[in-house]
């Protein structure tokens, strides 16, 4: 049964439609990542859930109860806002405990909960300080602590790790997931970082320009996106997108020509970076072969992101570091892409096109 439900919620600010008829059901004890670019509507959706704003139309339900117009204090949601709204005159400890004090939770109970959370977030030594004595990252961790301390059935985390340093983000992602599992709580977690979305999510809800594009299990959405925007927005590095023009069963793309069973017109051809292979693929069949020039090599450690120029189109590949030994920016290299990895979409409607056959045109 779904614990949180948005039913056709819309919200506008003046002429800007921040949310447009969004319907989303979130199961109890699940972790759903709201992902999408900045201003996709992720924060607004969470604010509607928390009760900081009311939708123009539509309903918000928690446990089948309509809370659309219920005040925030009556909803009992652990909220970690994007900006660290800490009271400047209170100590970090009092800031973190504030929502519990408001709910008249006993001091001994507050202390019991506070210690492990403060240790996990590495702010135990800072509890006696005031927010002005903390760095940005420390304030953010205090804000996370305040949210997670509530042991609420539902948590709304709005890009909680943005701007924190790399390794801290990595360990907090782990710890937040462990905590979600341990508490059996329902997490709605917004992020605009594609790698964070992939790593955190069980389920993903892809938002773009105020609309819900697609929702589903992360593995399904990654491997079989049904919408152009979810293919583009899920994945790191970002999925390659190339224009294709179909005429009489042949599709011209910057990568080469394909045989397709599609009506004439424009298509968007998408291929994930991991499917852009280095080398000419020997004698393997069903490959598009092309040459490309390396523009920039970004070293991630285990792998390298190659930013390539091929036949006038930009292309990104992500080979293992062992594969790029000796290569440098400016080099020309051979690439092979298996046609079975190409995903075709209608560029206007964004729908996935089920071409019954995609093959390299001989």
């Amino acid at each position: 049964m779904s614990l949180v439900r948005f039913e056709g919620v819309s919200k506008s600010y003046g002429r800007l439609k921040a949310l447009d008829e969004v319907s989303l059901a979130v199961d109890s004890s699940s972790l759903t990542v709201l992902c999408g670019p900045p201003r996709a509507g992720k924060s607004v959706l969470l604010r509607l859930l928390v009760g900081l704003e009311a939708p123009d139309s539509g309903r918000v339900l928690i446990d089948e109860r309509d809370v659309t117009h219920l005040p925030a204090a009556a909803r009992h949601i652990g909220y970690v806002p994007q900006s660290f709204a800490l009271f400047p005159h209170m100590s970090v400890r009092d800031n973190i405990a504030y929502p519990l004090v408001q709910r008249r939770v006993a001091q001994s109970e507050i202390d019991r909960r506070l210690v492990p959370v403060a240790e996990m977030l590495r702010i135990a030594p800072l509890l006696g300080k005031t927010p002005s004595q903390l760095s940005g990252g420390e304030k953010q961790r205090a804000a996370i602590a305040r949210g997670v301390l509530q042991e609420a059935p539902v948590f709304a985390l709005d890009d909680p790790l943005v701007g924190l340093d790399f390794k801290l983000r990595e360990s907090l992602m782990d710890e937040l997931r462990d905590m979600q599992t341990a508490l059996g709580a329902t997490f709605l977690y917004a992020t605009s970082d594609p790698l964070e979305a992939l790593t955190m999510a069980e389920r993903l809800a892809v938002l773009d320009a105020g609309r819900l594009v697609e929702t589903g299990e992360v593995l399904t959405l990654y491997h079989e996106p049904s919408q152009l925007r979810s293919a583009e927005l899920i994945g790191f590095p970002r999925c390659n997108r190339l224009p294709g023009h179909v005429s009489q069963g042949r599709c011209r793309t910057p990568l080469g020509e394909l045989t397709v069973e599609l009506p004439d017109g424009e298509v968007a051809v998408l291929v994930r970076p991991e499917h852009v292979g280095l080398g000419d693929g020997a004698d393997e069949a069903g490959l598009l072969r092309l040459r490309a020039r390396i523009g920039l090599m970004e070293h991630l450690g285990a792998e390298c992101v190659l930013h390539l120029q091929a036949a006038g189109a930009g292309l990104v590949a992500v080979p293992a570091t062992d594969q790029v030994a000796g290569l440098a920016a400016g080099d020309e290299i051979a690439l092979a892409i298996a046609t079975r990895h190409l995903m075709l979409f209608d560029p206007v409607s964004g729908q996935r096109l089920a071409a019954t056959r995609v093959a390299a045109y001989a």
Partner: protein, 362 residues
């Protein structure tokens, strides 16, 4: 420009040593990244080189010239900050030209030529007449770089210039950085907490922790041969796994993650930890020679559609990567193999020179 030499440099704030007895040499014309987590002292170290912070003890030499007590402007150093200070009422071009106002020897024509050159290198020619307010944070940061390189200082210091820059713009900035580096004679010191940025930009990385240098090496060496557990953990997404031996037997040490004992290193198993990078752990669905059974406790997607697996075997937990295709075939019961050539011994956080080897061959 001669080398920059740091000689036993310390900066204390009360009892806290932000920089603790650091000696290092930055070679003329090279790019060095100071890498480390928040609070490791990297920014303090750079501010001392810039002359914005006075060392408590130790010396800074530019070649043989002792600059320790010189004011910033006497050092011929340019700096690009996290939040660049710009003249909002001036155009891109005017902002860059302003950096040259103290260069009295330049004629008007030389000044104009210098500005043109910088605009070209940084790909800003199209925006030369734009006001600063029209630029996104990354482009603004490129203007800041432009001001720094226009002066042709011997030394350019960067303080986390991409922290507040969104991903796309960050790449543009890195490309611009690489272009101006081509044939560049300046010595560049670049502070970052982002390992990808450091590995992509740097000739050498100085890895810092708690005010000290942990390791100073090329990006590849630092990644492939970390001298400390900290280094192994800090680089990589996620970092290196570490497991403790389970015991000693017949001149060997036993581990949960290998099917046979390793040759006992000098000093035995006491305080010993064995490290392996997640991408070096080989995971398969079927048993194989040399593999041990493990269970998948958690799986997530990561870079390039790879699977990031949290594995448990006989009481040890470790992370592994599996490629996009192979990872899809894996159920919850898997087999893992840790090739000895990818293992490393650590004791007391430091790497042992001795390479791990199996007692017997498989």
């Amino acid at each position: 420009m001669p080398d920059i030499v740091l000689d036993s440099l310390t900066r204390a704030f009360g009892n806290f040593k932000a920089v603790d007895d650091i000696s290092a040499r930055f070679t003329e014309g090279s790019v060095t990244c100071l890498l480390g987590p928040s609070g490791c002292g990297k920014t303090t170290l750079m501010r001392m080189i810039a002359g914005l912070e006075t060392p408590s003890s130790g010396r800074i030499l530019f070649g043989t010239r002792d600059v320790t007590r010189l004011a910033p402007r006497q050092r011929n150093v340019a700096m690009v900050f996290q939040y660049p200070v710009m003249y909002r009422t001036l155009s891109v071009e005017q902002n860059i030209a302003l950096a040259l106002r103290d260069e009295r020897r330049l004629s008007a024509a030389e000044r104009a030529a210098r500005v043109d050159e910088v605009l070209g290198v940084l790909d800003l020619a199209g925006q030369r007449h734009w006001g600063i307010d029209r630029l996104d944070s990354g482009t603004r940061q490129r203007v800041a770089v432009g001001r720094a390189i226009a002066r042709r200082c011997d030394v350019i210091l960067f303080d986390e210039p991409t922290t507040n820059v969104e991903v796309h713009s960050k790449l543009e900035l890195i490309r611009a950085f690489n272009r101006f580096r081509i044939g560049g004679q300046q010595t560049v010191i670049y502070v970052t907490h982002d390992q990808t940025e450091a590995m992509t930009l740097a000739d050498g990385i100085v890895l810092m922790q708690a005010g000290r240098i942990t390791q100073s090496a090329t990006p590849r060496t630092l990644y492939e041969r970390p001298e400390s557990e900290f280094g192994g953990w800090f680089l990589g997404t996620p970092g290196m796994n570490f497991v403790a031996p389970t015991g000693e037997r017949d001149g060997g040490i036993t581990l949960d993650i290998t099917d046979r004992p390793l040759r006992r290193p000098a000093g035995g198993s006491d305080g010993l930890r064995v490290g392996i990078r997640p991408e070096r752990v080989e995971v398969s669905a079927q048993p194989r020679p040399g593999a041990v059974a493990a269970r998948v406790q958690r799986r997530a997607l990561t870079i390039g559609g790879q699977y990031l697996l949290l594995l448990e075997t006989r009481g040890s937990r470790l992370r592994a990567r599996a490629d996009s295709e192979g990872g899809r075939q894996l159920g919850d019961a898997v087999y893992l193999r840790c090739p000895p050539e990818h293992l490393a011994f650590f004791r007391g956080g430091q790497r042992l020179a001795e390479p791990p080897q199996f007692l017997s061959n498989p």
